[in-house]
Symmetry: C2
Subunit: 262 residues, 2 copies
């Protein structure tokens, strides 16, 4: 599992304030804490209230790269914000994200090719998030086809079936889990898969329990990465254990510590 840390996101009040005030230490601590906790990639999102997302993205990328050396997932709905980030990254980046919309895919896969980036592809289009596995699969297949057209390796795609909150879209959990399983069979080499995990527990009372339960169920069905809160220790324990059960890490009695020391 590739753990993508979700915490550097301007939708969180503290982060939005740190971006506005250019508080380097707040962002750098968030970067360091997530990497220490097991994040292999850091998501970077200026947030919905950013007045100057291009400048904010540039500042964030530079601030983060001064203290940690993991790859970044440049997270924005605006291709020009992503592009400014791509110009600055020192490691191969992940673009977060394209949808299956034609115009969007052309722009994003063009950037991916130009800057040698990986891409998260959301199984949605202009008509919104599908409510069935079959529609998700259709959109994911369109993303795979377009990526191939641009000469992008399918392993460099992270297909995302789009997780919805269980309290408002309860029928969708099963559709998402089954979609992950089928996404992996869309092409060879198999694409990576990802989810924005925390969305599943949005507005629920037992957020961590819902998150970690969903995560292990998804891992059992082909999830290869997730955007999540790596500081949630119980979540990370569940993830490590799920991977152990699937024989992805070698068993030892202290397998939790062993994973974290890696």
């Amino acid at each position: 599992m590739i753990v993508i840390g979700e915490l550097i996101n301007g939708m969180f009040k503290d982060v939005a304030r740190a971006i506005d005030n250019r508080e380097v230490d707040v962002i750098q601590h968030l970067a360091e804490d997530q990497v220490k906790a097991g994040a292999q990639v850091l998501d970077v999102n200026t947030g919905p209230y950013s007045k100057n997302p291009v400048d904010d993205m540039k500042w964030l990328v530079e601030a983060i790269q001064k203290t940690v050396s993991v790859p970044l997932a440049l997270d924005s709905t605006k291709p020009e914000v992503i592009e400014e980030g791509l110009k600055l990254v020192s490691k191969r980046a992940i673009i977060n994200s394209t949808s299956a919309d034609e115009e969007k895919m052309s722009r994003i896969f063009g950037l991916a090719k130009e800057y040698n980036a990986q891409v998260i592809g959301l199984a949605m289009d202009r008509s919104g998030v599908p409510n069935s596995k079959d529609k998700r699969l259709e959109l994911a297949a369109a993303i795979v086809a377009k990526a191939m057209e641009y000469g992008i390796n399918t392993e460099d795609l992270f297909l995302d079936p789009i997780v919805l909150p269980v309290n408002v879209a309860q029928t969708q959990g099963h559709e998402v889990i089954e979609s992950l399983r089928e996404f992996r069979m869309l092409c060879d080499p198999a694409p990576n898969t990802t989810i924005g995990l925390s969305n599943v527990s949005q507005g629920t009372k037992y957020r961590s329990l819902v998150n970690r339960t969903f995560l292990t169920m998804a891992i059992a069905n082909g999830l290869t990465s997730a955007i999540l809160d790596p500081l949630d220790k119980e979540l990370m324990d569940a993830m490590i254990t799920a991977e152990l059960i699937l024989n992805k890490n070698i068993y030892c009695d202290s397998f939790l510590d062993a994973y974290r020391k890696k």
Copy 2:
């Protein structure tokens, strides 16, 4: 999920002593506690050290039925022990278990027919536990075929792929999880599935974590019942949440309490 409480089993020292000394209250408390915690069925096993398993089984069944009214899973390798239990049960019982061995199946399905019992079918035969999904599927199919021969409804079968400890058989977790998914497609109506959950964590350091992680992964792939420790609250929380995610219970903010009050 049908929760089968595992705690009335003579392999546990306290239970073995209670059976030997005919300590009714020890057994009845175990029965009551498990039912209160959410067990819908209680497994009853005289244990490996019972000198007189037929008498012990009869005593256990009577002691348990005086205080709770849930069905029992009569758990013994000896058909004559199961039969004496079947004569006494007040609710429809589950026979735990038959293997795919011809002689064993004939005897057990004969009993199931005679006493209108459900049956747990283990995907193993005289040569032992298979080490692949395909072999498990072959044995499960043989069990289904034999059950049909005896006129037993396939929904009254609980197919068990046999969980092995992750610390000694680490490749088998994935095989078991995938077996569960395929067992459900063996016939229509789909058979039930079950596992002896605690076996997966035998000898490991983080038993509860390993158990609950495995359980949610299995539920995501077609597990419809499990023999487990219902007094492990975190395990039950994980199970309830996994079922919520699969839309088997209706969401409400206090979904854990709501499940338990049912």
